[in-house]
């Protein structure tokens, strides 16, 4: 029998970014015994990298804003395949969640009358993002972290979950390995909340850290839960492109919110050239109006640089493909030009975008107050994920909840910037509350020893296999190349079929990789274990993308470049079939209640 430590909780939260921390706090507040698993150290999760802000219709800067406008913006951005219930709850509850953070010590930037300042962002009609310069994620995770350590929550750092267990239909436990000690740890739980973030590491160019290997998506799938909308991956338009070693690191949309503009090598602001029909009435048609918008003129419309991320990313790809890109295969993002408009522009930029200034100075030797940046698209976010109930966040497996990036629904086909941080808070809280309530009705969770032994054996198998030149890193790199080249921003049937074939080959290569060394802090071994998750989500993304024969939001098909009305009526669902194969189905989207439909109509 395998050796492992055992802990038991009412609610086990897997993941300690914004969503996981908020879920843990809420579950503890409702009296649950809570265990919180961090893949890294506490406070290092990916939320820390969020820059721009958290969207909440508080109306502090423009009092025309309210939840109805935010709801309509979110649905428009998501191209109407969102879970409308989530979009409604999110828009209604985000302001309270932000104010709650302030009560826990967060210090947002202020308006002149001392309230929380809000900034412009792509796809949001009014200035809506509560922020702290360009380090909002850090402020948020630190506030939640510092609040959590004074709650009844046991924190398990540097633990990676590799399997979920069930007792009949419902989830009953999780097996993790303790990175520092190389030991296994079994967690029995009455309810489990997945808050594991995204899948960016399946692609070569990404703004995501190593942790983003799709663990939650894959664990849920293998436990029998339904995944939804996996074809919708967001490529953020502005990642660094030079030098090569920093390629993909995020450049916040806040740069454009503060007046930054996109130009091609001819110096042309190409974003004015192709403004989508459904945004035309809201978009400036000249440079002067766009500038006035970024400076808070309520009568001005937003500049085209602040159109949704999917559109901006594709426009950049077009410029590069047609030979108008920058020297290193991107385009130029220029904030320094505002010196024509502002006397103290250097100070202003450093104050508003301190970490961007720092990042370019240190990593690229570029002073963004004086010269343009070179940027290009980078894999940033997955809108798809575990299918959940809009209000409770429970997946299709009883007792298994999901919130934050790992859950699907809120963002539909494309996420608006700033809607992620508020998503974490709103649905982290809901998942925590409902997981605690679910746990109350359950008896002691039971996990079969044989299941645990099998999972441990599986995890240790790479040590028993011969080490070869085809190691875990090589398989991972091959997968990243494949997904980047064949299932990236612009997709085609034949290329994705090739990707599917390659993924199959990589699955068998992955099952042969061997690792050497000890179990304590062995990154080679950990990479070998991540491969299963990465391959599962890559296959799910590719199969869903093949199924959606249209272009919508983050999913663009070269062979089906138009949006199809028919495809707007369902979500694509993936489940594990009885013989382990991936099964797809089309799930019709429930009709929207008339009061919500009326809002959409009114805001058109």
């Amino acid at each position: 029998m395998a050796e492992y430590q055992t802990s038991e909780y009412d609610v086990l939260v897997i993941g300690a970014g914004g969503a996981g921390l908020r879920a843990a706090i809420e579950a503890a507040t409702h009296g649950a015994r809570v265990g919180l698993i961090c893949k890294s150290l506490l406070g290092k999760a990916h939320t820390v990298m969020a820059e721009g802000g958290a969207a909440a219709a508080m109306g502090n800067v423009d009092d025309r804003d309210n939840w109805r406008v935010h709801f309509a913006d979110t649905m428009r951005g998501g191209q109407y395949v969102n879970n409308w219930r989530m979009a409604e709850l999110h828009a209604k509850e985000a302001p309270d969640r932000i104010r709650e953070l302030e009560a826990w010590g967060a210090l947002f930037d202020r308006t002149p009358d001392g309230r929380i300042l809000q900034r412009n962002f792509g796809g949001h009609r009014y200035p809506r993002l509560a922020h702290v310069g360009d380090r909002t994620g850090l402020e948020m995770i630190r506030t939640l972290q510092d609040h959590t350590i004074h709650q009844a929550v046991d924190v398990h750092m540097e633990h990676t979950v590799i399997a979920l267990f069930k007792d009949g239909d419902r989830v009953s436990g999780a097996l993790a390995y303790d990175r520092e000690r190389g030991r296994f740890h079994l967690f029995k739980a009455r309810a489990i909340v997945l808050a594991t973030g995204g899948v960016g590491r399946a692609f070569k160019i990404t703004s995501n850290s190593w942790e983003y290997s799709g663990d939650g998506h894959s664990l849920a799938y293998h436990a029998g839960a339904a995944l939804q909308d996996m074809e919708f991956v967001q490529f953020h338009p502005t990642g660094m492109v030079w030098p090569p070693s920093v390629r993909g690191i995020l450049v916040t949309e806040g740069v454009r919110g503060e007046g930054g503009v996109l130009r091609n090598k001819q110096g042309k602001r190409f974003m004015f050239e192709n403004i989508p029909e459904n945004y035309r009435s809201q978009t400036a048609d000249n440079e002067e109006e766009g500038w006035r918008y970024t400076q808070g003129d309520k009568n001005a419309r937003r500049p085209p640089e602040l159109l949704t991320r999917d559109h901006v990313a594709r426009m950049i790809v077009r410029e590069v493909k047609e030979g108008r890109g920058s020297p290193h295969g991107g385009v130029f993002l220029d904030i320094s030009w505002i010196r024509e408009k502002l006397k103290n522009s250097e100070e202003h930029i450093k104050k508003k975008l301190p970490s961007m200034y720092h990042q370019f100075m240190q990593l690229a030797g570029i002073d963004i107050t004086k010269e343009p940046m070179e940027i290009g698209p980078t894999t940033h976010y997955i809108m798809g994920g575990v299918r959940v109930d809009g209000a409770t966040q429970m997946s299709t497996v009883p007792g298994l909840f999901a919130c934050g990036e790992v859950a699907a629904g809120l963002h539909g086909a494309n996420r608006l910037g700033g809607n992620s941080l508020s998503d974490l808070l709103v649905f982290g809280r809901r998942a925590g509350e409902h997981a605690a309530a679910f746990a109350k009705g359950q008896g002691t969770p039971s996990v079969q020893n044989a299941d645990v032994d099998a999972a441990v054996r599986d995890a240790l198998a790479p040590f028993d296999r011969a080490v070869s030149a085809d190691g875990p890193y090589q398989v991972q790199h091959a997968l990243q190349e494949t997904m980047q080249d064949l299932v990236g921003i612009v997709r085609r049937e034949d290329e994705m079929q090739r990707a599917l074939k390659t993924i199959g080959e990589l699955q068998s290569r992955a099952s042969r990789v061997g690792v050497a060394g000890n179990r304590e802090y062995n990154p080679g071994w950990h990479t070998a274990l991540d491969l299963r998750h990465l391959l599962t989500v890559s296959e799910a993304i590719t199969r869903s993308a093949l199924e959606r024969k249209e272009s919508r939001g983050g999913h663009f098909r070269d062979d089906y470049p138009e949006k199809s009305k028919d495809f707007g009526t369902f979500n694509i669902i993936i489940r594990r079939g009885s013989t382990g194969e991936m099964r797809l189905e089309r799930q019709p989207i429930a009709p929207m209640p008339p009061e919500l439909a009326a809002i959409i109509e009114e805001m058109k």
Binding site: M49, L107, R115, R135, V155, I249, G524
Partner: protein, 271 residues
Amino acid sequence: MTTPPIPASLATAPEPTPLPGRQTRAFDVWRGDASGGKFQRFDTTVAEGMVVLDAIHQIQAEQAPDLAVRWNCKAGKCGSCSAEINGMPKLMCMTRLNELATDKPITVEPMRAFPPVRDLVTDVSVNFRMKKSIRKFQPRPPDAPDGTWRMAQKDVDRVQEFRKCIECFLCQDVCHVLRDHHKHDEFAGPRHFVYAAALEMHPLDVGDRIPELKRQHGIGYCNITKCCTKVCPEHITITDNAIIPLKERVVDEFYDPLGKLVKIFSRRKST
């Protein structure tokens, strides 16, 4: 374990030199665990713009798959990849190779003020325990009927500097009270003084952490050598803006009985 000294020239970095194309550089990487270890030499090909963490990853992928390193964001935002590079406490992800002298191998070793776990990874759990011992945020009652507060940006600015901290613990690594005198249990260290200062100077906070800073957190041990400020990757003026004002508050509270009386008296009058 004996702790190697930090170079005296803490603040000075050599002028960046251009890295002409690809070339091979030698890295001496510390490998071992709690029972001991030694430097191992790796030669690897480096290219323009690479940072130390890139080189470590390349070595990991090509030569030493089990080389342990802790990292996350690779963008200087999470504070995970702290190490000592050529003897200087730095983030590996923000240290470009062209900042480092080319005439000798680049040494990369774990933070020496913390117990080694494996290779470049150290046990930093003491920091999490210490933070928990600091009294939590305690806001005054809301200013507005809707439960919200009003704060001026200029009052927020001061604390926002402290809240930039990414908890890389490089300041703890370089602090001689911890590094040389091992007072981890009786001295909170620069990171936690910054944390305490952020709470003490928070416009809404009404908690009092001064007695604990003196007794439990040993702020008196700090003799203001400012090493912490020099290594902070977020450029927080740790000593001048956080530690010295806290020391002054300790002095006011404990060593100035007359001033204390005046304060109590004026506080009564204002309520």
